[in-house]
Symmetry: C2
Subunit: 256 residues, 2 copies
Amino acid sequence: MQPREFPRLERAPAYKLVYDAIEKQIFSGALKVGDPLPAETLLAEQFGVNRSTVREGIRLLEQSGLVEREGAKRPRIAIPHYLELASSASRALILATITFRELWEASSLVEPMMAEIAARNISDADLKRLAANIAEMEEAIRLIEAREIFDIDDFVGLDREFHEILAQASGNRVLILSHEPITKLFIPAGRIILPRLGTYRRVLDAHRFIHERLAARDPDGARTWMRRHMNDFRKGYELTGFDLDLPLDAARLGLA
Amino acid sequence: MQPREFPRLERAPAYKLVYDAIEKQIFSGALKVGDPLPAETLLAEQFGVNRSTVREGIRLLEQSGLVEREGAKRPRIAIPHYLELASSASRALILATITFRELWEASSLVEPMMAEIAARNISDADLKRLAANIAEMEEAIRLIEAREIFDIDDFVGLDREFHEILAQASGNRVLILSHEPITKLFIPAGRIILPRLGTYRRVLDAHRFIHERLAARDPDGARTWMRRHMNDFRKGYELTGFDLDLPLDAARLGLA
DNA sequence: AATTGTCGGCTTGTCGGACAATTCTGGACA
DNA sequence: TGTCCAGAATTGTCCGACAAGCCGACAATT
């Protein structure tokens, strides 16, 4: 034992240093959201490293959500969509084991509460967005019933959007963050339930009632209808015959 | 309005495909947690792309937390700690704008609910962990009062840990995910309030009561005490004289 | 005038090869 | 059996190169 352990000095690889340097510039405000990243050759020159190294650093930024790439354009600085990219990976892993019961329990606690808060704070603009969402869902159902196009993802996406708008209407970004995992997990669950039962119109009706209570600025009413909506959610799942404690993706696979 | 919008076709770059392919193998279980990633040259050969391309894909995996690198060793497959992950980026940005009011509103909705669920499901092991946490906090306060060591981060960390254990005690991973942003944001808030007021013992007492109600499996009692605890949280902040609608980091800077 | 086609410069995506530094591995040796 | 070391394997970094894609400008067409 040496009298004094040196804290094992860690030489971060150059690509990590590139990442750190650019991240720092973003946080400091030197690089603003929407700005394009400087060209790779330029960065390589400035940092004094090879372009390949710069590119590896940029990949880190990309996955962290700090820059967004669209085609082969210059990547642009972006605000990471909260937890979106961050744990897209972890969420997928979690998905493998989370059960419908967990999702439903969480939903039936959080969603009604969210509806209540939203009813207090919702803006006219958000009410309009909800109305538009409902109209779109109406159209989607019309198409489904006419057996024209049938894209379940469209419908589930609309459903998810409805609940997301509601969260945003709460005007509380911490709540929005808390709410995010639920909407994310809801998608696979919706894909299981809806096509098997075809209860599209029932979902739409619930959304209509909720919207109507929100427009009336009626917190209790909004909460009540949301609770019913969540109970329907569970009943729907039970009717599929799957075990409540089955992991979501097992159920999904069982369906496919 | 076109009759039918084409879904803009996207050709992902090769490094992204590499990422997707490896990710898929991880999720499918072909690559297990702890396994080392195959060598870059081997991967390049198998995928039929250049090693540089493979490396860029690996950087994406790295930042997503799916692989961990230690020195220049072979990266190993890992389960992303959804707590620590890329939120370092998002957290810093979010922190810049979220206000204490938002945090408190969210906390006083979510935490009592969490306490209630936890009281129903908590295991003896988690009760012990809470007891240990309380003991540690007791010791920390003793040190503070004796003016020996004074590390506010220690105390805030213990406080956060208490609430995290509570979330885990709920046994619902969706709720744990929902709860995560709150505990995260709580740290800077706690750093503002506690040193200015020195209400350490009041926090400890609240935790004691909550623990006692949890041990008694009393959901109502646990919820009630948690609500009081949250009210204290707000009162504490108000006593600092900062505006409730001030962004947390502005308040933090105002203190420093 | 507005739209479409073409051109050239710039940047990204990908490739091949190369080498030093570090890590791993198997066998020699105590 | 346990330790040590040389060589193999692997990562980190560099260099140079080229096709493909994006962008603005300008010419051609309707």
